[in-house]
């Protein structure tokens, strides 16, 4: 048996940057990501006002919010707080949920998909039937229900989102593990007496990395959108903690008179989700030849 059969080279991750750099759309997406992450990290320094402070001059004499322009860049909300500062701090909330919830979902999905695909048999059958079952759940309804009943903190919102978001990852990882496990180099390792743990961590997992990276990136968009939706319904991140979704929730009653209170946070959500979708899609083209689009 040749060496090549024993050591199938794991997909290259090091050349990704070079290939990614050539794609204008990917660069655009990455620029947006850097912009948003930067804004979130630097919020305390660049925010012109305290996001929680209700300014006395932040409302008109009739108690209405101020439109964009003037002292308050993007205007003020119903309580006379600076919208721009709240949006900057809201980026922190969204990214926190994006990273934590998506991280948990990714771990659950990978563990379930990997276990089912590698061991197969009854463990695999049980795990994948459970995954099928979760696919049939109306995910948003489930999340709303869980979040509404739990009186959520930031961590619980993240957890609820993770609970409904791991399913897709599990299925993708499962299919990939299944085909990897059937390949010659894995059989060769087994023959040589490699332990199960060694095969899993040294041989299977590195091959799954590209897929995990792709789904991890795309997953941030899904998570951020779900958080925004839950918060918009008032069952996600609770005020006064600013989140782009709950800013719209708080100000919706005044929407017709003060549309900027819906448009700016709405645009922020779209830009964040778009950024990670663009990067994720480019990564998929670059990293995963089997999923490559028709370009």
């Amino acid at each position: 048996m040749s060496d090549a059969a024993l050591q199938s080279a794991a997909p290259r991750i090091d050349g990704v940057w070079t290939r990614l750099r050539r794609r204008k759309i990917a660069l655009f997406g990455m620029a947006l990501v850097v912009l948003i992450v930067g804004a979130a990290l630097l919020a305390p320094w660049i925010a012109p006002y305290d996001p929680f402070e209700q300014h006395f001059d932040g409302l008109t004499l009739f108690g209405e919010p101020l439109p964009p322009g003037g002292d308050y860049l993007l205007g003020t909300d119903l309580l006379g707080r600076d919208l721009f500062s709240r949006l900057l701090y809201g980026a922190r909330t969204s990214l926190f949920i994006g990273v934590v919830a998506n991280g948990i979902a990714l771990v659950i999905g990978t563990v379930i998909g990997l276990t089912a695909g590698f061991f197969q048999g009854w463990i695999g059958a049980v795990l994948m039937r459970f995954t099928d079952l979760m696919m049939a759940f109306p995910a948003l309804l489930l999340a709303i229900c869980l979040a509404a009943i739990f009186q959520p903190s930031l961590w619980i919102v993240a957890f609820v989102i993770a609970m409904v978001n791991w399913v897709q990852t599990a299925r993708v990882i499962y299919t990939e593990t299944l085909s990897l496990t059937a390949r010659d180099f894995i059989a060769a390792q087994r023959t040589l007496g490699a332990s199960t743990a060694r095969i899993l961590f040294k041989h299977i997992l590195p091959h799954l990395m590209p897929m995990i990276i792709v789904w991890g990136t795309l997953g941030i968009s899904t998570t951020v959108l779900l958080e925004a939706t839950l918060s918009y319904l008032g069952v996600g991140v609770q005020p006064p903690t600013p989140s782009w979704g709950n800013i719209i929730f708080e100000n919706q009653t005044y929407f017709q008179a003060a549309p900027w209170l819906v448009f700016f946070p709405g645009a922020a959500i779209v830009v964040l989700a778009l950024a990670f979708n663009l990067v994720g899609d480019a990564l998929r083209d670059v990293l995963d030849p089997t999923l490559r689009g028709s370009d």
Partner: protein, 306 residues
């Protein structure tokens, strides 16, 4: 084919049983007490205990689940705690509105998405292709409520073309359906584009061209029908994503469907309604996937069933 259909049907039923069990379990263990909602704050412990017994909520979990399922198989979905009406009646009253919205939404989705995909494929690599693909990314990156509120502001508040919300006439249907259509179009646009590009490369298209047929005829009569077929099966899969969107869109536009029913029930911990709507939605999703699986081999004989 027959045995495949039967096994897929059995699987679908098992999945629905699983969904019912998990939902029931979640609602049972969650720290929200429906009895408190019904009895009100000033109720005495005796009243609370009485209501609990009346509703059978003092029974162990398995007994409660068994009673629910036994009822379900006789077409009884239980009674709403607060509305004192059969859940089946409530859902039946709301379902037509949701189905109407769903049909209109899927129609809008297909019209917008397929057009985008075809145009992008025909002018592949040009500015219009890049623009449309970017647009498709934006539609999958937008939350339902943002698109809904945006359309509401633009076409109802500012231009006054359509009513702000409600139900009854065709004008009421336009904005909610358009919201769902825009949201789902990106997904279809990308699939249609790849499908069309693949078909345009196929031998039979080249043959048709070589016969000297006009380009428009080749595209409309030869390429298009073949490219659209695989997309048809995707509609079934799409239903799952759709069911989520409907809760939000119905809420924003005040559309009296099952999404609103569910949302109101969640806020009041009206468990039988939550249970009922979850099951109906799960049925729709399972049925959609089932149709997709059964239709695909009919459309494309190359896909053989094991």
């Amino acid at each position: 084919m027959a045995s495949y259909t039967v096994s897929r049907l059995v699987q679908a039923v098992l999945i629905l049983l699983g969904v019912s069990f998990i939902t029931f379990f979640l609602l049972y263990v969650l720290p929200a007490d429906p009895v408190r909602q019904i009895a009100g704050r000033s109720a005495t412990p005796q009243t609370v205990a009485n209501i609990r017994e009346q509703l059978g909520l003092d029974q162990p979990f398995i007994v409660q689940y068994w009673r629910y399922m036994a009822g379900l198989f006789q077409g009884d979905m239980g009674r709403s705690y607060l509305q004192k009406t059969d859940v089946a009646t409530l859902i039946a009253a709301r379902l037509p509105a949701s189905l109407l919205l769903m049909a209109a939404g899927i129609g809008a989705e297909l019209v917008i998405g397929l057009t985008m995909g075809i145009v992008a494929a025909l002018w592949r690599g040009r500015a219009i292709d890049n623009g449309l693909m970017m647009a498709s990314f934006v539609t999958v990156s937008a939350p339902q409520f943002v698109v809904a509120l945006l359309l509401l502001y633009l076409f109802a508040v500012t231009l006054g073309w359509f009513p702000i919300g409600g139900y009854g006439t065709l004008a009421h249907l336009v904005l909610p359906a358009l919201t769902l259509g825009i949201l789902g179009s990106g997904w279809y646009a990308r699939m249609m584009r790849s499908s069309m590009i693949e078909v345009l490369r196929a031998d039979f298209v080249r043959t048709a061209r070589a016969k000297g047929l006009k380009r428009s005829r080749v595209i409309l009569r030869h390429a298009l029908p073949n490219a659209v077929l695989p997309i048809i099966a995707m509609i079934g899969i799409d239903i799952g994503i759709f069911m989520g969107g409907i809760v939000i869109v119905e809420g924003v536009f005040g559309w009296p469907g099952i999404g609103q029913l569910a949302w109101q029930a969640i806020q009041r911990v009206d468990i039988p309604i939550i249970m009922g709507v979850t099951l109906v939605s799960a049925c729709a999703i399972v049925l959609g996937n089932l149709l997709a699986d059964l239709i695909t081999p009919l459309i494309d004989p190359r896909i053989r069933i094991r």
